[in-house]
């Protein structure tokens, strides 16, 4: 099959980019695979990409940033999408042209705005797959309405968790669209697993509020008081850095808690630790949890929507604590820190249980999905059951009305605010 991905910017850093690269690389031995990067801002991608995967940028910001069309707002890309300000009349034009001329069997969008483009402009003979890498509930009502309007034209929608797939089925009217959870995959580490006797707790992610590293640092104060030979290392950079540094100083934890900066190869850092930690208040998947577990680290995580609860089996390969609960987090960390036996057995559990996120089974699932849809499309047997569509419409009316009311309220508020300026 000829498979094309639509990606916001293949040259940046982030979970969606990494997982798209992983999937593309796994498919390329048997298929013709390309990644269409809407934006490009540098010569080479940050993550390495198998040269057999074709990378095709549409708008080069290094030369086209000041193009008059790029200064006009987008009309197709939905205004309620988070990345709206980075899209323009120029991206509208390039994406439309790209999709109109695209010769592909499967086209995959990787964020809501691109899924909207795909639903409206994707080649009708190709299988159109929208991917949700965030969660439905977290989207603003205006965006949900736009999705509700156009997503029925997609052939399939994949989420990264079962919980989010269930939400889509409950709240969206998507007749004839196959909704399936397709988790992110993490390749097996090249390095031997971590030693459970190490005394480092490791966390990784952008230093932004939603990751709640403040909570992690505060809860680690208890660990450091009981076991001063333990360290907490937080990898990543971001706008919270100075605030977190001030907190470390305020709590006197400068000999135990370290802001390590960004690590180009996290694997070599995970294996120095014996516990992984994630304290986010929102984690659609939780790539770092799986990465840590694949290196043999049990993980302590907040039970935030939706990823952690699907990744972690509490007591076997990690612990789940309520979101924002500093006390519970400290208890869970200390429990693992003080119990070498428990750490060792959970390390084994983490290694075994995280194998289900290996690219092999995940890619098999993706390939099966794409192939089945392709066959259905080719034989024109699509959208067989009209009855199911009507039923779905009746059930989901309530959500539609509520989102419309929210969307209207939001736009009124914006108007009021603007006039007050």
């Amino acid at each position: 099959m000829r498979i094309s991905f639509l990606l916001h910017n293949a040259y940046g850093i982030g979970g969606t980019i990494r997982t798209t690269f992983n999937l593309a690389e796994a498919l390329v031995p048997r298929h013709e695979v390309e990644i269409i990067s809407i934006l490009r801002h540098r010569e080479e991608p940050n993550f390495s990409l198998d040269p057999r995967v074709r990378l095709r940028p549409l708008v080069d910001l290094r030369t086209e940033r000041d193009d008059p069309r790029h200064l006009r707002p987008a009309r197709v890309f939905p205004a309620a999408e988070y990345r709206y300000s980075q899209y323009s009349a120029l991206t509208d034009e390039r994406i439309a042209h790209c999709l109109a001329t695209l010769e592909a069997d499967v086209v995959i969008g990787t964020r809501p705005g691109l899924n909207v483009h795909l639903a409206l402009q994707g080649p009708r003979e190709a299988v159109l797959v929208g991917q949700e890498h965030l969660t439905l509930d977290n989207h603003p009502p205006g965006l949900r309405n736009e999705m509700r309007r156009v997503y029925p034209r997609l052939d399939a929608l994949t989420t990264v968790t079962h919980a989010d797939a269930a939400t889509y089925q409950r709240k969206m009217r998507l007749p004839g669209v196959r909704v399936e959870a397709l988790p992110n995959s993490v390749p097996p580490p090249a390095l031997p697993p971590a030693d459970p006797n190490a005394k480092i707790v490791v966390a990784a992610g952008r230093l932004v509020r939603v990751k709640r590293y403040d909570l992690l640092i505060r809860s680690f104060a208890r660990v450091a008081a009981e076991r001063p030979d333990w360290q907490l290392r937080i990898y990543g950079k971001g706008e919270e850095r100075d605030r977190l540094r001030a907190l470390i100083n305020e709590l006197g934890l400068y000999n135990n808690v370290f802001l390590m900066g960004a690590a180009p190869a996290m694997e070599a850092e995970w294996v120095k630790g014996s516990i992984g930690a994630s304290t986010s208040s929102f984690e659609p998947f939780g790539m770092t949890l799986v990465e840590a577990m694949r290196c043999g680290l049990p993980v302590v995580s907040t039970d935030c929507p939706h990823g952690p609860a699907e990744i972690i089996t509490p007591g076997k390969d990690g612990r789940l604590v309520p979101v924002g609960d500093q006390h519970a987090l400290g208890e869970a960390l200390l429990d693992l820190v003080q119990n070498d036996q428990l750490r060792a057995s959970m390390s084994q559990g983490a290694l075994v249980n995280s194998r289900r996120y290996d690219p092999v089974p995940i890619i098999e699932q993706a390939e099966r999905l794409f192939t089945e849809l392709h066959e259905v499309k080719a034989s024109g047997r699509r959208r067989a059951s009209l009855g199911a569509r009507v039923g779905a419409r009746l059930v989901n009316r309530g959500h539609l009305v509520r989102d419309a009311a929210f969307a209207a309220a939001v736009s009124t508020m914006r108007t009021v605010r603007r006039s007050n300026r």
Binding site: A190, L191, D195, A198, Q231, N249, Y254, G261, A268
Partner: protein
């Protein structure tokens, strides 16, 4: 200067084992007798003088993958050693990019016995340079005061550590020496403990300040009254660039701000700068 661009340079995985041996591995599918070259980075504008070439051996089970191991020899002088590969005699050397650096054996909670011979400490730490290449940071110190903990107080800083390659005798002290030609010195009382451990507190109030000027005081440990002071530094873990990671709070006393910090060479110093 290397002509290699980031795109064409090979990536090399490296590992430090429990005995402090360095192991490098890289893919060179077409090589026949490649060598790994470590070259001491000269000061800006100076010529290269020192390099060590090590033979790469093909890994039996994976043809095309080559390995070099560096035991206690060659000894690397203190400095930064850039890593290159010489694929064969005709081709120019290529500067290497870092792959996976497995440094868990150096992590602070699984300490390797420090490499000491004749009282000289040798540390070698593969790291990623600012411009993204692989290099080895080497320290070579005849006598060394390893800093294990820095605890700032409102009026000074308490340092806990271990003396390596020297022994404490009567008259041991911490010595603070102001950077620059014939800078003044100040001493602080030092308490030797068991097995070379020590604790001292440097009182900021004992350091002379000059209005409007910034000064840096380097921290030493003098093992005995007549012994040569050895530099206090933190060298025995996996962190090559400590300055931005091990960061301690400042203290303001009078019109001066005192800040204990690790230098770009991981040595311990105290900066004194004018307050607002």
């Amino acid at each position: 200067m290397s002509q290699a661009t980031v795109e064409e340079a090979p990536r090399v995985d490296c590992r430090v084992d429990g005995e402090g041996r360095l192991r490098f591995e890289l893919e060179l599918p077409e090589a026949t007798a490649p060598q790994l070259l470590l070259r001491l980075r000269p000061k800006k504008g100076e010529e290269e003088t020192t390099g060590h070439a090590v033979e790469l051996v093909e890994v039996e089970e994976t043809p095309g993958r080559w390995r070099a191991e560096i035991g206690p020899n060659p000894r690397l002088r203190e400095g930064r050693w850039d890593a290159y590969v010489l694929a064969d005699a005709e081709r120019p050397r290529l500067r290497l990019l870092p792959g996976l650096r497995d440094l868990r054996a150096l992590a602070p909670t699984a300490p390797v016995a420090p490499l000491l011979s004749d009282g000289v400490l040798r540390v070698r730490l593969p790291y990623r340079t600012k411009d993204g290449f692989l290099a080895v940071r080497a320290w070579q110190r005849a006598g060394h005061a390893e800093v294990d903990e820095v605890r700032p107080t409102p009026e000074g800083v308490t340092v806990r550590g271990r003396l390596l390659g020297a022994e404490f005798g009567p008259g041991a002290a911490a010595v603070l020496r102001r950077r620059g030609k014939e800078g003044p010195e100040r001493e602080a009382a030092l308490e030797p403990g068991e097995d070379g451990t020590f604790t001292f507190t440097a009182d900021y109030r004992a350091l002379p300040t000059e209005a409007g000027a910034t000064a840096v005081w380097n921290v030493f440990v003098r093992p005995a009254a007549d012994a040569r002071p050895v530099r206090a530094a933190r060298l025995l873990d996996d962190v090559a660039d400590r300055k931005a990671v091990f960061v301690y709070p400042e203290a303001t006393l009078g019109s001066s701000v005192f800040w204990p910090y690790f230098t770009i060479d991981n040595d311990l110093s105290i900066q004194v700068s004018p307050g607002d």
